[in-house]
């Protein structure tokens, strides 16, 4: 069964239509990359998957987004949805508090108060985000003092702390140096054993390196979707070929 089934999805910002008839099945415990030129709708689609677009005034959708077979736009507790579907943004955005409190923030809001339990969640999340060894002696320090790459991995740890099923990543390495980028890419590949990951990226080499499936978007439509290896070696659509070979975009 697919993790997400997106059926005939159309999305409007007021009178502007940003997504057209999107049909996409996202495989469980795989990395799916969304690629395409700026303004093609890939980040918009990502945000529909945990209803971040609800916060945008005038945003309206038609069609269905099924998570584990349930329509997330019908009778769904949005807080629970966002617990299940975490998000990591382009620019690391740690809260202005300690490393520990950043990671414990989510579990606390979901009612966990026991220190022992929180300690365990913080350690486990930081370990999963491959940053425990670097931060275990700095848990009480302010997270804003960390490097960009560390901040981004902390944000991933924070997302993991509420035990999600899915991680949405919107250009998570575009603000990072090559070494931090490699660490995040390695981490993402580790994480796919336990999580479904959807990543928006402008870096096509990154999509080629880490993703299992890739969807190419253009002007709000999914032009081509399939195994990454196929899409980057033998694209079916000329527009995909032109974009991935740098002929436009």
């Amino acid at each position: 069964m697919y993790k997400f089934q997106i059926e005939n999805l159309n999305l409007f910002y007021g009178s502007f239509q940003a997504l057209f008839d999107v049909d996409l099945n996202i495989e469980d415990r795989c990395i799916t990359a969304f690629i395409g030129p700026s303004g093609c709708g890939k980040s918009t689609l990502l945000k529909t998957l945990n209803r971040m677009n609800d916060l945008v005034e005038g945003c309206r959708i038609t069609g269905k987004v099924l998570l584990d077979g349930e329509d997330i736009y019908y009778n769904t507790d949005v807080n629970l949805l966002r617990k299940k579907v975490g998000m990591v943004f382009q620019k690391p955005n740690p809260f202005p508090m300690s490393v520990y409190d950043n990671v414990a923030y989510g579990p606390r809001t979901h009612g966990i108060r026991s220190k022992a339990q929180l300690d365990e969640i913080v350690e486990d999340s930081l370990r999963r985000a491959a940053i425990w060894d670097e931060l275990k002696d700095r848990l009480r320090r302010n997270a804003l003092g960390l490097s960009g790459g560390q901040q981004q991995r902390l944000c991933i740890a924070r997302a993991l702390a509420v035990n999600p099923d899915v991680l949405l990543m919107d250009e998570p390495t575009s603000a990072l140096d090559p070494i931090s980028t490699t660490k995040i890419e390695d981490l993402v590949q580790e994480l796919k054993q336990d999580y479904t990951i959807i990543i928006v990226t402008h870096n096509m080499q990154q999509a080629t390196r880490i993703s299992d499936n890739t969807a190419f978007f253009l002007l709000g439509k999914v032009i081509e979707y399939g195994p990454t290896e196929n899409l980057f070696s033998m694209p079916r659509d000329k527009r995909t070929e032109d974009y991935i070979t740098g002929r436009f975009g």
Partner: protein, 218 residues
């Protein structure tokens, strides 16, 4: 966008066409040397071998640089990987043209060089295969590539006939045994040149369709 990349791909294509024309000239020279017992043509084919080797190095460098700098995908990836594969076959064709010419040079002093009809036919058939495989690469033509692949059976048949003809010749008059064995080697070289042309044609099909010998390899 991608102006530099396109210019470099065009330069790669030009080099491949030039290498193709070099191996065509090398085989044509070795055939002229064989049929007309023309030592000057034999020397030309042997000299060409070094130039072909140099061209192979140059194309290799171009391809590796493109892989490093451009990280090609899709058609670009298939074109560059095809170039890397076919230059090995082209270089081997150059070697074999030189090998044929060396035998012809050695046979030059012999009096009665046996007329082997099938050997001439093989020479004509293999040069046709090589020319067409290069043409198929230039024109990105899978139909022509498949014609080259199918034509290999003709060359194989001619090789078997030449072999039978030469075995019979050895049995009939063993005084010229060494000469007949040399001619058999030449027949084998032509047969191998045909195989290399098939390899080139198969990679040309891959560069267009993504399939190599009807199998998806990526």
């Amino acid at each position: 966008m991608r102006n530099k990349f396109d210019v470099e791909l065009e330069a790669l294509n030009t080099d491949l066409i030039e290498m193709g024309s070099m191996i065509e000239t090398a085989i044509a020279s070795s055939i002229t040397a064989l049929i007309q017992r023309d030592l000057h043509s034999a020397e030309r084919a042997i000299e060409y071998d070094n130039e072909i080797d140099e061209m192979e190095r140059r194309i290799e460098r171009r391809c590796l640089k493109l892989l490093l700098q451009q990280q090609p995908v899709a058609t670009d990836l298939r074109t560059i990987s095809t170039a890397l594969k076919i230059i090995t076959d082209m270089e081997r064709i150059g070697d074999q043209a030189a090998d044929i010419s060396e035998i012809v040079t050695r046979l030059a002093g012999e009096k009665d060089l046996l007329e082997i009809k099938n050997l001439k036919k093989m020479a004509e058939a293999t040069i046709k295969m090589v020319n067409q495989s290069i043409d198929a690469f230039v024109a990105k033509d899978p139909v022509l590539s498949n014609e080259v692949i199918a034509y290999d059976d003709v060359v194989d048949d001619l090789f078997n006939q030449s072999k039978t003809e030469l075995i019979h010749a050895i049995q009939t008059d063993s005084r010229y045994g060494e000469q007949f064995v040399d001619l058999l080697m030449i027949a084998k070289y032509f047969e191998r040149i045909g195989d290399h042309a098939v390899n080139i044609a198969e990679w040309v099909v891959f560069s267009i369709t993504g399939q190599h010998k009807n199998q998806k390899i990526l």
